[in-house]
Point group: C2
Amino acid sequence: MKKIEIVQNILEANEFIAAQNQRLLDKHKIFAINIMSSPGAGKTSLILQTIARLKDKLRIGVIEGDVASTLDAEKVKVEATAVAQINTRNMLESCSLNANMVSHALQSLPLEDIDLLLIENVGNLICPSEFVLGEHKRVVISSLPEGDDKPVKYPMIFADADAVVINKIDFLPYVDFDIAAFQKALQGLNPEVKIFQVSCKTGVGIENWCSWLLSALKANS
Amino acid sequence: MKKIEIVQNILEANEFIAAQNQRLLDKHKIFAINIMSSPGAGKTSLILQTIARLKDKLRIGVIEGDVASTLDAEKVKVEATAVAQINTRNMLESCSLNANMVSHALQSLPLEDIDLLLIENVGNLICPSEFVLGEHKRVVISSLPEGDDKPVKYPMIFADADAVVINKIDFLPYVDFDIAAFQKALQGLNPEVKIFQVSCKTGVGIENWCSWLLSALKANS
């Protein structure tokens, strides 16, 4: 029981800092999205597609969370208004982004120049579900090659999502993925969730995703 | 620093129990493999292929680690000699299997009837790298649709692996995956690692993987 108490204290402290982050974001009229998925499901690709489609309408900042490397930040920084990199290193530090890391990243970003903040979490379907960051919406990407059983196997992260993006829809001819079964399992956990089918490779479905993002941003302002 | 000390104490306790697990396995002449990967990379598929090819030579037990559900255990129990299920639930419990969970699972398995124990960890490239379980070999599966940058982005789990299985090799025509770049990054972290290219769907490469497994088992006995 001791271990659980310690972890609960960590999570309470995290929620306190996340609330501070959200107040800072609201003060600067920044709408923030926490993007979570398995490794390689397409977080960076969705961010690049989103920036390509919305950069004439919005000033977009990105926080890149990675265990190691700056590969994703390098890809994103060409197009984004500003990018901050967080390296979480190993589990002794954290197995997901947390609110304190994001608080430090926010200090390094030009908040007055940002309308939309896309936070790319580390590739992990378990830990990020426990740590709020101060975001306004939580988005999970699930890609076709991973299989259609992910909501059943990792229910917590799907239950709390505002939107789920089914990516790599162009793989449908090559994989055994039952979209109806995936959606049914997901809606069983989370009846209100918005679901998008996209391919970040071909661009299919990105317009619908960006329309939702814009309307969610407007509803928040 | 306090948090890091607590985590280090947890890891030390884990190593102590892992050593007990390994002594118990050795006493029963069981060779144990810890199989780790992202969600959906093919852990269960590799286990099913391995059982199909080796079940006439070895009695194979399986420990199935999942956050939630018994989906994988249901698939495996038809073919394996014995299966134990561990559900890790949420991060308050653990974001990976740990030695204590495996210790309990071992108590539920008929150890005198098992030669090879395949331990399927939860889908996560971060936490399992920190927790040894008592296994004799550590195996990481990396699948083509995840992208070739995974060793750079999640170095710890690849640095400690005895073998890396590149799965879904049948996706090569459809994805942008540079096998040479993947291998170079991996060998930079881990020069001694064995690398296998397989497709659990078509069966390509499974024979090589099983030959290695058999020779590693023999070398251990």
